[in-house]
Symmetry: C2
Subunit: 379 residues, 2 copies
């Protein structure tokens, strides 16, 4: 998929393939102001080694409490983005041959993290309207050998854009406790809501401390901060601390302090408003273009935030096999099979709408439609 | 050791325990200038996801060529500091139960990285004047089961300050090739030379591509950059790239670009001159204080750069057991046994001299001497 996205990054290609925040929405001035404030105030301490930055942990704990998660700064662990959090939990819980329960469609980095530690994936059906099938999840938890870990992306799910409905969130937390399977809630996208009702994270329903939450500043602030966090049971934190030290010691003091300054200075809310308004417009443009161009041959998910829409063709069109024709027509998407953990989804594609202008979105969908109709016209 | 260094960080304690660059020598203004230049020039690209930053790789390749290593940017891999490089090579080469050949004294992060992947350590005697014993290294390579990896700190070795002499560097490279044991050259300190002749890295003698070099910007620029690099055989790089993606995706674009700007703007050389002049003075003060206070009961290494001096007592004084008494007298060091891979070195200590003023160095050694003499006076 790395090669595919590289191929799609040429400027003449209209790419729905990436997962990047809109470049024109990154909070450049605010980050610059925060950096200057930190260097002026903290001086050399901002360039030195140091323990996890307390005010950043405090801000995160307050943010999590605001989302309904009982949480103190002591339960927050700073990571280099969500991917390092995935690596840490995979390494903590998985030995070669263990089972990890993953959604039938999931972010490639999730599968990479667990397979990197030799785990086998037990796919759990993802419903494209309401999120992971909780009965299937219970069956996966009950089956021997039991999974040692489950990873669920509850909000504006990558790749599908689906949000797990509230009653299922509660059920997931209950299942984690009942079957003693740690559930990792991978949640980088929830701040990117532009429509509909805010949902509490799974962790908010977790009375048994069986859920590990992971958040990320990559999408809500900027990818180059390389900062994310875990909210984990207190008894796990000494092991996480020692493990992190052996992996790469610590996160940058400069970036931790700059993120804390950005957040406590109140830059987040207006930034998210701008970002989400832009994404909202672009999603609407995409929806309209899809209806117009592909309404008779495909259907798609209805995300209320995040970066992705998931398109399923009504026939057995193989989007992987069409990819070369799409590139020839200078448009790119990610064939859905790349996110599949059960071998299916060959007639699907992930479309990222956050990083193209409305004009290019319309033009891009027209190109996809042309490719699709050529394929459908073949005997 | 984390707890020990935390204990030693109280301001009333004169600490020789850390491994921090001198705070007053960190290039604050230059980093600030570089950051501003990057944000002005690159805008949102500096906050976005992105591939490893080409100009930084190019600078590193040129720097390595200047040190005698035939190297192109394609063989350079950017990491989050040397610790992530250690993690990557450990994960690439070691499975549980494998043997890793390490020096009999080594940085704790080296031991943590290999043990974190289940490897057993085969200690190789470190000569405190000329560096690792190459005959012992050959014996360790020849013994079955053969090591899958060796890690050597060639220059201003942590914890001892020892530099591996040139003829031994050549021999290490030859042994790596002859016995087919990949040797990792962990070299964060070589830019910190203030005295004596510059030595080529082991990698410069490596005609068989059996040595993996790792450098770090933590000591030569600033720890909070969280940047280091590997120079690795070309055929390993695809595996390293995929592995890194699963570990934490990538290093910060902002920090990579800022480092590249700092380096290409010519800030490195004057910064190193100031830094090394300061360290030189502090080492001389430490030597003089040691001669005056402990000359009759101990001897020590003679580093020509770096951050550490290694003190060995002439009798079986247990520096670990003295640590409480030292803290009570408000002075701290690291008991040498914490760096030992063979269970010895209980009568040694590591002293960091870079991060205390001359006055505090003198006072600190007087306090250590008082603790030591009380212990020696006991029957």
């Amino acid at each position: 998929m790395r090669d595919l996205i590289a191929l799609a990054s040429k400027p003449e290609i209209i790419s729905f393939a990436g997962g990047l925040p809109a470049a024109d929405c990154l909070p450049l001035e605010e980050v610059q102001t925060a950096l200057e404030a930190v260097l002026t105030r903290d001086g050399a301490r901002a360039l030195q080694y140091g323990p996890p930055f307390g005010p950043l942990k405090e801000w995160i704990a307050g943010y999590m409490r605001g989302r309904g998660v009982a949480c103190s700064a002591e339960e927050v662990f700073i990571t280099n983005g969500a991917q390092q959090a995935l690596e840490i939990v995979s390494r903590l819980f998985l030995d070669p041959g263990d089972i990890a329960a993953l959604e039938s469609l999931t972010f490639t980095g999730v599968a990479q993290a667990v397979q990197g530690h030799g785990a086998h994936i037990r796919p759990v059906h993802l419903d494209l309207e309401t999120g992971v099938d909780v009965d299937a999840l219970e069956a996966a938890f009950a089956q021997e050998p039991r999974p040692r870990l489950a990873i669920i992306i509850p909000e504006f799910h990558n790749p599908t854009g689906v949000s797990l409905i509230a009653e299922k969130r509660q059920r997931v937390a209950e299942l984690a406790a009942r079957y003693n399977v740690p559930v990792v809630e991978d949640d980088p996208y929830s701040p990117l809501r532009y429509e509909g009702e805010t949902l509490k994270p799974i962790k908010a329903y977790d009375t048994a401390n069986a859920v590990i939450y992971q958040g990320s500043f990559s999408k809500m602030l900027a990818p180059a901060m390389r900062l994310g966090w875990l909210v984990a049971p207190r008894e796990l934190l000494p092991r996480i601390t020692v493990l992190r030290e052996s992996i790469d010691l610590e996160s940058s003091q400069l970036l931790q302090r700059t993120a804390a300054e950005f957040l406590t200075a109140g830059y987040l809310e207006p930034h998210l408003q701008r970002l989400n308004a832009t994404n909202h417009t672009r999603r609407d443009v995409l929806f309209e273009a899809l209806r117009h161009e592909l309404g008779d041959v495909a259907h798609w998910t209805a995300p209320q935030g995040g970066l992705f829409v998931w398109v399923t063709f009504n026939t057995a069109l193989h989007t992987g096999e069409l990819f070369g024709a799409a590139i020839a027509k200078q448009v790119a998407y990610v064939p859905g099979m790349h996110f599949s953990t059960n071998g299916g989804y060959t007639n699907t594609m992930r479309l990222n709408y956050s990083n193209a202008t409305p004009e290019r979105i319309v033009e891009g969908v027209q190109r996809i439609s042309a490719v699709v109709r050529e394929a459908l016209a073949k005997p």
